[in-house]
Amino acid sequence: MERRRFMQCLAWAGTGLVWTARGGVLSATVLGEASAAGADFTFGQISDTHVGFGGEANKDAMGTLRDSIAGLNALEPRPAFVLHTGDLSHGQKPGAFDTLAGSLKAVRTEKIVYIPGEHDVAIDGGKEYLSRYGAGTYENRGYQSFDYRGVHFVGLVNVLSYKPGVGGALGDEQLAWLRKDLDPLTPSTPLVVFSHVPLWAVYPAWGWTTADGEQVIGMLRRFGSVTALNGHIHQVLQRVEGSITFHSARSTAFPQPAPGAAPTPGPMKVEAGQLRRLLGVREVHYVEGTAPLAVVERPLA
């Protein structure tokens, strides 16, 4: 907490970067210079697969998903598990969850942990998603927490209460659950909190915010090391606030413009050679004791 740095944004150079977090402050090194040696475990993050997407921005979203899976499978050591931070499907296209399940069978990992994006729940209020992925989550509601080798992981659902004018929100019941979940933990417990929509106000005009996210952030401030991962905005973006580091992940399907850089947040068309640099997956290395988390962005090209 003595180290405090606000708004650390990095321009993307097109190659991998390793993020090492100590006490909530990140430092970056080039991927080739980084090593997972000494890490107690590694986990992966995949996001915004948007199965069913067929727009101009990427005519082969299933192909880039396959490449993303190949990227995950090339990791050494093998990731202990993989987080999917939502928008599995593209607007709940019929059969999309089946298609994704078929594709992700190829991922070499113990388990994949899912949270929904708004594309997975907007049509039916989450019925289909929760029937498939609700098992093992709190009262079948999609949110959950688990511990892995000393790190407490919390998966939040902030896409189930969309209503006119209001997008991302957790709602009072989930906030109460989170308060109870975090209550017994000591401040030295490393936390990884993942949600689909960013918890902080990236760009509210495009709905890139969580209405009650500040309440979540307030609950996280007493912890010495918090890593908050999200999807939704299809681009890498970092923010550091006290001991909390926020990371937005790329999509495996299509990129979106930087906040305010286009009239709308619709899929961004880029030159063919550029596309794969803007899609990809993420791996996170955890080293016990000193609690540094190294977050590695892996573009597809």
Partner: protein, 104 residues
Amino acid sequence: MTRGLLTVTLVAAVALAAVADAATPSVQIKEFKFVPALLTVPVGATVTWINGDEEPHTVTATDRAYTSSGLDRKDTYAHRFTTPGTYTYFCALHPHMTATVVVK
């Protein structure tokens, strides 16, 4: 007798005009907006929405009484309004997109 027949014909013509109007109202979805944002239609009208964006959108009643599926580019959705009233709706994927249909 002639006059009575003429009246009947006129009524039929008016009814046909109403049916024609009811068949045509449409809302374009463009650049993350419903256009027009306020549409007035007669009772019984079927409104058609057409998505012109690359991004999928939905047409979802505020009370979720009805909803389209995720509309891709050029997909359409139609809903018939049978009761007078003011009906607000939004896009369940982009909830800042809101609009209204008034049925008279």
